[in-house]
Amino acid sequence: MKTAIPAPLSSHGQPLHGLMAEYATPKELVAGIRSVRAAGYTKLDAYTPFPIEEVIEALGEHGSRVPAIVLGGGLFGLVAGYGLQYWTSVVDYPLNIGGRPFHSWVSFIPPTFETTVLFAGLAAVVGMLAVNGLPRPYHPVFNVERFRFASRDRYFLVVESADPRFDPKGTREALASTSPSGVHEVEE
C-alpha cells in the first residue's frame, strides 16, 4: 500500500506523474542525472533514442535479470529436449533401428542443442519484455507533446512524483538548474 499522500497536481489540475527535463545531448542528460541524484532524488528514469552506457551507469543500474531468465530457459530446453528423446525412444516407443541402442545418446545431442537454443532464445525475448513491463500501451510520459522526440534526437529525464523528495516547485528548480532545453509536466 502506498501512503495516502495526495498526488501533486499539474497546472491543468491533473494528477502529476512527475516532471520531465529535456536535453539536446546525452552529455547534458548524464550531467542532469548526476546532479539530480546528488540532490537526493531516487525515483528517476531517463529516455534516450538509443542505448547509452553512461546514462545507464549514471542512473545506477547494475546487472539485469535477463541473463538468469535465459539460463533458466536454456536449462529447461536442455532437459525437456533430452527428456523427450529419452522417454519416446527408450520408454514409450522402443524401436530397433539398425541395431542401434534405444538410448542413442550421441544422436540425441543435435536436437537437444536445438531445443536448448530455442527455449533460451525465447526466454531472452519474453524475459526482456517481462522485466521491462512491456507490452504497456499507455504510459504517462506519452502525454508530453515533446516526448515523441525521445525516439529521434532528444534525451529526457523524469523525476517521478512518487519520489519522497518530490515537490512541484523545488523539483522544477532542481531540474531547471541542470540547463535543460525545457522542463515539462508529466500528467498521469
Binding site: A46, P49, I56, Q85, S89, Y93, G98, P110, G121, R152
Partner: protein
Amino acid sequence: MSAVLERPPVIAPGHTPATVTDKIAATVLDKTPRWWILGFAVSFLILLMFLNAVAWLFVKGVGIWGINIPVGWGFDIINFVWWIGIGHAGTLISAILLLLRQQWRTSINRFAEAMTLFAVACAGMFPILHLGRPQIFYWLLPYPNTMGMWVNFRSPLVWDVFAVSTYATISAVFWFMGLIPDLATLRDRSTHPVGRYVYGVLAMGWRGSARHWHNYETASLLLAGLCTPLVLSVHTVVSWDFSVGIIPGWHATIFPPYFVAGAIYAGFAMVILLAVPLRKAFGLEDFITMRHMNNMAKILLVTGLIVVYGYVMEIFMAWYSGNPYEWYMVFNRVTGPYKYHWMALIFCNAIAPQVLWIPKVRSSIAALFCVSLIVSVGMWLERFIIIVTSLHRDFLPSSWDMYHGTKWDWMTFLGTLGLFLTLFFLFIRFLPAISIFEMRTITKTDGGTSPGKP
C-alpha cells in the same frame, strides 16, 4: 579506437541521430515510390506462378517433378539447401559480427536478417512440398498421437526439422526484437492514424527508457551469442542429411564446414545483390557505403576460398580413400553427363570470384553485382552437382539413370524467388530496412558523450 591505419568512416560524415532517423523513417512513411509498385507487381506475378505450380502439384502429386529412382532428391532438396544457405549470411551479420564488434554491420543487419527470414520461408516450402502429402507435414514433429508412434531421433532428417524450425523461430524473434525501438520511432513519426495505431501496437509501448535499454542490450547480446552456434548448427545438420548416408560423394566428414562456408558465401552474395538496388532506390548511399561493399566482397572472397578447399578435399579424399565407388563418383562428376554443370560450377564458384582480389573490382558496384550473381548461380549448381551426380550413378550400374528438372520444377524454383521478392518488397515498404536506433548509436553526437554501443 587505436587503429594505426585510418579507416574510411562507417557512414558518410555529417550525420546526426536526427538525420538518420528522418532519412530512414522517410523510406517507410513517404509516399509509395513508383519503382516499388512496379517491383512489387513483378514479384507478385512470379509468386502467382509459384502458386500455380504448387496448385498443380497438389492435384497431380510429385510425379510432375523430375524426381524418380535413383534420383529421389532433385530440385526440391537443391532449392531447400540453396535457400537455407542464403539465410545464413543474415544471422552471421546480425549475431557473429555483433559479437566481433564489427560496427559496419549496423547498416546492413536489418535487411540481411529479413533476408534470412524470407529465405528460410522459401526453403521451408521445398521439404514440405516434397513430402507428397504436405497436409500431414506435422507428422515430422514429435507429438502424442493415436498411432502411438514417435519420430526417430536417430535420423538427421528429424534433426533437420528441429534445426530449421528453431532457426526460423529464433531468427524471427531476434528480428522482431530488433525492430521494437524502430517501430516506436515510426509510431511517433507517422502522421496517418492507421500507421500510428499499427506501429503503436507492434511497438508494445516501447518508450526508450534507459532501464529498458539496459535489459534490451543484454537480451540482444545473449541472443547473438545463442544465434552464433545456432547458425553453424543449421547447415551442419543440413549437411548431415547427406553425409550420414553412405552414398559416394555424400559420405564425407568435410561436409559440415564445407556447407557452412558455402552457406555464408551464397548468403553474402545475396546480401550484395539486395544491397545494390536498395541503396540506390532509397538513396541510402550514405549509410550503405563503399566500405560495406568492400567488406562484403572480402568475406565473399574468403568463404569462396574455403568452398574451393572443400572441392579439392572432396577429390583428394575420394582418391586417398582407395574406394572405387568414391573415385568413380569424382570421375563421373568431372567427365560424365553432368560435366558441363561441373565446369560451370567451378567457373562460378572458384574462378570468377578471384577477381575480388583486385581492389578496383571491390569498389565497383557493377562488378560486385555481377560477381554476386555468378556466385549465386554457382552455389545453386554446387547443390545440383552434390545431389544429382552422387545419386544418378550409385553402386549398381543397372539402376543408373539421368535426372532433369521438369517445367514444374523450374516454375516452383523460380516461383520461390517471387515469394522471396514479394516478402522483401513488403518489408522495405512497411518496415525500416536499416536499423534506425543502431544507426543513431554510430553517429557522433555533438555533445561528445560516446554512444553506448560497441
